[in-house]
Symmetry: C2
């Protein structure tokens, strides 16, 4: 079955690295479809969205397009095995978001993409011989917050307000190794307060009536850590004891990405992949898509 | 005598912390003039620049002014002792730069400020009983680069192009503890190439005909490190051996700000304060101000 993950971040917050760390592979390299292109007849709003060859190509930004926002939508599809289940993973990337001098409206192509995928599903549902095996709807959105240690930026708040009712929003603090433990605690508190005041709801791992106390406790512990302070790493490092792990090596010490004392990576991976993948898909179908469908029928 | 340091950075890159680390004090708290206000009659272009009470006040940004750029100019003045000399230090801050959704033209209020200060000096020079003791011209501009590890952003390049011929530009990589040693090396190379291609000249410690080989070597070593990869810290930390120093403490290790193996802070401090302060002031007077003056006379 499908799992479609939308990733939104300005350039340089470790997005490519984190996705590869989460799924244990180079997503782009293993992508069966090198990049999926939105053709112009499909959706009028999609006109003008061109996709470059490679997102990881280091491009210097010196041209006219850097002054105003030009967000592109790029998808990478690959098959992964999780809990013995084969999963068709699609990572939807949004290069250009937040990177220009003027980022007005940079949320729009992304919201258009979410809506487009809802419409695709709606059309399929309405066909006589409906085949709903290909579920292209966005099941979760990972939003990367710059680790300033102060507050969410206006662009962050605006984006979260625009998407939290359309897909499961999971805000994360990117490159959290720039923050001390106290700074992370203060920053998380402020972010949650700001999102609350903006009436933004991020994804909350659900609890069920029949859950035992331990499960409820584990689930709320997982929830309390949001926004997850994450570190990603494509490379292995070796510490003084000869132990090798995924991490980052600095002159003053080595970070272990999978060490819960170093960052919240393991919690994000739990939420997104090992424990709540099904809940993310279900909430998309039962709540977010239903809301979209009813709003569309009303108009 | 005066030393006027312009500091330009988007919020959250450790600017306040770095200034305090450089001058060994809380600049704002020790500022004899709480904040200097530009009155409207002085310079038509300065209209509308209002100054808030405190730059360090943690303000959530949720209002209309976050959509478009609103850069303010705030000055803090204090007296410092360096090399047995008493120095009237003025730090000119630019809150709001790069913080909005649309940052078009955010360089303009800053360039206006530099020009205004040149004009002030020009007026004083032209008076019959000229008293040039108060030199308010900008002697150096510290420009904070976000440590993305990729490239300079369009906003960075635009700003540097606008100011490098008006004041001594010293680009620095902020919060460099987010980068490994390899990432710093690659990032510095790309930044220098990008600035070179944009014809941006940053301040170069001059060498003199009578300098000995050691001095020339030390001066070029200082120059090669630009953009300085800096870390700042207001607080002291203690390591396992009981040694106390200014730094940042992480679960994986402790950074020592004054350790040249951890960051370039000591080199920035050398350039800016201990060794080339006079050169910065001289170049401002002999080269940058002279160019401004001749251009103005031509028009
Ligand atoms: N400090 C830190 N650096 C990271 C982290 N993840 C990636 N990086 C580095 O940041 C740079 C940009 O990473 P990349 O994944 O290409 O960022 P993207 O532009 O958001 O896709 C690379 O040099 C990475 O090694 C992280 O969690 N912490
Ligand atoms: N990682 C890192 N954090 C820093 C550094 N300097 C300051 N900070 C932290 O970043 C946050 C913002 O610092 P501040 O000086 O207020 O930034 P400003 O908004 O640019 O003035 C605070 O939590 C600081 O402790 C640094 O060099 N490295």
């Amino acid at each position: 079955f499908n799992f479609n993950l939308l990733c939104v971040s300005q350039r340089g917050l470790g997005k490519s690295t984190l996705i590869n760390t989460l799924f244990n592979r180079n997503i782009e390299a293993s992508s069966e479809i090198a990049s999926s292109e939105r053709s112009d007849d499909v959706n009028g709003k999609m006109d003008g969205l061109k996709l470059e060859d490679s997102q990881d190509e280091e491009t210097e930004t010196n041209g006219e397009e850097d002054v105003t926002s030009s967000v592109k939508i790029k998808s990478y599809t690959t098959t992964i095995e999780e809990n013995g289940v084969s999963l068709k993973l699609c990572v939807v990337d949004t290069p250009g978001f937040g990177d220009a001098i003027d980022n007005t409206g940079s949320w729009k192509p992304i919201v258009d993409e979410i809506n487009y995928r809802f419409d695709q599903y709606l059309d399929a549902e309405n066909k006589i011989n409906r085949s709903l095996e290909n579920d292209n709807r966005i099941h979760a959105c990972l939003y990367f917050i710059e680790p300033t240690a102060h507050y969410l930026k206006p662009l962050d708040v605006e984006f979260c307000k625009r998407v939290h009712e359309k897909c499961n929003l999971i805000p994360i603090i990117a490159k959290s190794d720039i923050l001390t433990e106290e700074e992370i605690a203060v920053f998380k508190q402020r972010i949650r307060k700001q999102l609350d005041e903006a009436n933004v709801k991020f994804f909350q791992p659900p609890t069920y009536a029949m859950d035992d106390a331990d499960t409820v406790r584990a689930s709320s512990a997982l929830f309390e850590k949001i926004p997850y302070a994450v570190v990603g790493s494509n490379s292995s490092v070796t510490d003084k004891e000869g132990k090798t792990f995924r991490g980052r090596s600095y002159p003053w010490g080595i970070i272990d990405v999978d060490n819960a004392k170093h960052c919240d990576f393991v919690y994000l991976r739990d939420l997104l992949i090992s424990q709540y993948l099904e809940e993310l898909r279900e909430r998309t179908n039962n709540v977010l898509y239903e809301n979209y469908r009813s709003e569309k029928l009303i108009r």
